[in-house]
């Protein structure tokens, strides 16, 4: 048998046959490993999860005309959007705003792609239905002002301002209210209809005021996209919706700081627990250490054996912790974000290495104290 095999045989025997004592240290390391592995998993998965959550708060980028002399068209917007990775572009909604008259009151009407608003404005709460052809979605403030409810009909007219001399009367278009829109925001002051209906009412000019985009990307990635688009397109200026992107960035920064702090605190506590246990173990095994020295063991050899036990314990605790950490992260993810996370195999060796390092550090002082043990004294029971 080689010395290495005997070394392994001794340290594994110590851990297995004295498991009740070492269980406390193992538990501490496994808990530390679990928190480390779990929080790191969450740390890396949260941006994706948070991004998906924040998409519920609406568009995070808008396109507007590059300058007042340039018109924003759907073609230009689509060309600019081609820079964005298609898998990240969740939705793109064009808006054309015109002032129309309803019951002789001037109201801002937005022509849009109703279907795509579901992706860019998922927070819209509609009392009724999304509008079809000949139908409008009325903002709750407008509905209250005009006394409109779902199912009501009204006549809308459009005046461009330059046809005041026209002899033909503007008969307008009859439209039906499909639903009342509540958002808690400025959308409640508008009415929404399909682009075709607005074009039919106000005449087609191909111009858009704004295009809203919902992109699954981090704040930095969004900034990069916005810069690229603004540089590459003459017609389009891309801007971030700071209300959304900054909130997302702030929450992520705070969450990641919290993960770091909690992980650091847990690792320090793990180190204290392991150091305490190893101090007790060394005190408990003073006679054994004295015996080994009496048999000819050097201080280095004794330190090596105790460190070997500690590091083996650290590695095993780290392995257990990395697996439990994934379970922990999965539970957190399912309960908080309602979606599962993917297992990162690299976390197993990382957690094991960190656990071994933490255990090694924790063992240093207690194990060093073995050098002071005098075999002649401890073997006599003094």
């Amino acid at each position: 048998m080689t010395k290495q095999k005997m070394f392994l045989r001794m340290i594994t025997a110590s851990l297995i046959r004295r498991r009740s004592r070492m269980l406390v240290a193992l538990l501490a390391i496994a808990v530390g490993g679990t928190i480390l592995s779990g929080l790191v998993t969450i740390y890396y998965d949260v941006p994706r999860q948070m991004g998906a959550q924040f998409r519920n708060y609406g568009a995070n980028m808008i396109f507007v005309a590059a300058d007042t002399d340039t018109a924003l068209t759907m073609g230009a917007a689509e060309e600019a959007a081609s820079i964005i990775n298609s898998s990240e572009l969740l939705g793109m909604t064009p808006y054309r705003y015109e002032t129309v008259r309803i019951h002789e009151q001037p109201i801002v009407a937005a022509g849009t792609d109703i279907e795509s608003t579901k992706a860019t404005s998922p927070y819209w709460h509609i009392d009724g239905n999304y509008p079809g052809s000949g139908e409008v979605l009325v903002g709750s403030d407008v509905a209250e002002h005009l006394g409109l409810g779902a199912g009501d009909s009204f006549n809308a007219t459009y005046s461009s301002g330059d046809d005041s001399d026209s002899e033909e009367p503007n008969l307008g278009v009859d439209m039906k209210v499909s639903g009342i829109l509540e958002t808690g925001g400025s959308e409640e002051n508008y009415i929404y209809m399909s682009m075709d209906d607005l074009n039919a009412l106000a005449g087609e000019n191909g111009k858009l005021q704004v295009v809203e985009l919902s992109i699954s990307a981090t704040q930095d990635e969004l900034k990069e996209y916005a810069e690229k688009i603004s540089q590459s397109s003459d017609a389009v200026s891309a801007r971030l919706v700071k209300r959304v992107t900054q909130s997302e960035g702030t929450v992520l920064t705070k969450l990641q700081a919290l993960v770091f702090i909690v992980t650091a605190v847990v690792l320090v506590l793990t180190m204290i627990c392991v150091a305490t246990t190893m101090t007790a173990v060394v005190a408990e095994r003073r006679k054994e250490i004295g015996l080994r020295k009496a048999l000819g063991a050097s201080d280095g050899s004794i330190i090596g054996e105790f460190m070997g036990e500690g590091l083996l314990l650290g590695g095993f605790g780290g392995l257990v912790g990395s697996i439990l950490g994934f379970v922990f992260a999965q539970i957190v993810s399912v309960n908080v974000f309602s979606s599962s996370i993917t297992f990162q195999p690299l976390l197993i060796p990382i957690t094991m290495i960190v656990s071994v390092l933490v255990t090694g550090l924790a063992c240093l002082l207690p194990v060093r104290s073995t050098m002071a043990i005098d075999p002649a004294l401890v073997l006599k029971g003094e």
């Binding site: 046959r17 006679k287 080994r292 048999l295 000819g296 063991a297 073997l379 006599k380």
Partner: protein
């Protein structure tokens, strides 16, 4: 030829002289018993002979080398290479089996060899108990494991501290029989004891009192 020679050694703790100018020679193959009441200096003498302590004054020549001048590291090496220790309390590692306990001494000395360790246990009549933990062995069996461990590296000197102190009469006889066998094979034995029956079976017996050799008796009936 002397294996061990103590030349005027003293061990002084403050104002207390645990050993006071002790001189002693032990020949190769000799069986010496060191006797004396508690506080007579037996343990101090054993620690010095066993390279676990150094005298305040004097020389300790083991195998031609003055170990009193050795560093702690040097003493550890001498202990490992030349001395086999047997303890009253057995001092087995409680989570290792009997054969593993024997192999621990091999591990620090050279290369662990399970077959050789099993043969050493067989020699003390414990071949069938090799895979048992100390807690599964009787006191006598534990002492025999301790003896097997002391013998495994073929030391030049076997040093036993009250080897029968915790044993009943039957086990005491077994241990003494093993010592007789070791002596007949040429081993040098130094047995520290306060038990006259154990001391009297040795080839020579010295008695310590107040740190000095009070008497020395050669056993005329030895070997008969």
């Amino acid at each position: 030829m002397s294996l061990l020679e103590l030349r005027n050694i003293s061990k002084i703790y403050g104002s207390l002289k645990a050993l006071d100018n002790v001189s002693l020679k032990v020949d190769n193959g000799e069986w010496l018993a060191i006797m004396g009441p508690s506080g007579s200096g037996k343990s101090t003498l054993m620690n010095i002979i066993g390279c676990m302590d150094k005298p305040t004054l004097g020389e300790v020549i083991l195998d031609g080398k003055d170990i009193a001048k050795e560093s702690d590291k040097g003493l550890t090496e001498i202990r490992r290479d030349k001395i086999g220790l047997i303890f009253q309390q057995f001092h087995l590692v409680n989570y290792l089996t009997a054969v593993e306990n024997v192999m621990v001494a091999q591990y620090y000395h050279s290369i662990p060899d399970e077959k050789e360790a099993l043969e050493a246990l067989d020699r003390v009549g414990l071949a069938d108990r090799a895979k048992h933990l100390p807690s599964q062995l009787s006191g006598g069996e534990q002492q025999r494991v301790c003896i097997a461990r002391a013998l495994i590296n073929h030391p030049e000197l076997i040093l036993a501290d009250e080897p029968t102190g915790n044993l009943d009469e039957a086990n005491e006889n077994i241990v003494l029989d093993i010592f007789r066998q070791l002596h007949s094979e040429g081993s040098t034995l130094i047995v520290v004891t306060h038990d006259p029956e154990v001391g009297e079976v040795a080839q020579r017996m010295i008695t310590l009192e107040y740190g000095k050799i009070k008497s020395e008796v050669v056993n005329q009936d030895f070997g008969k």
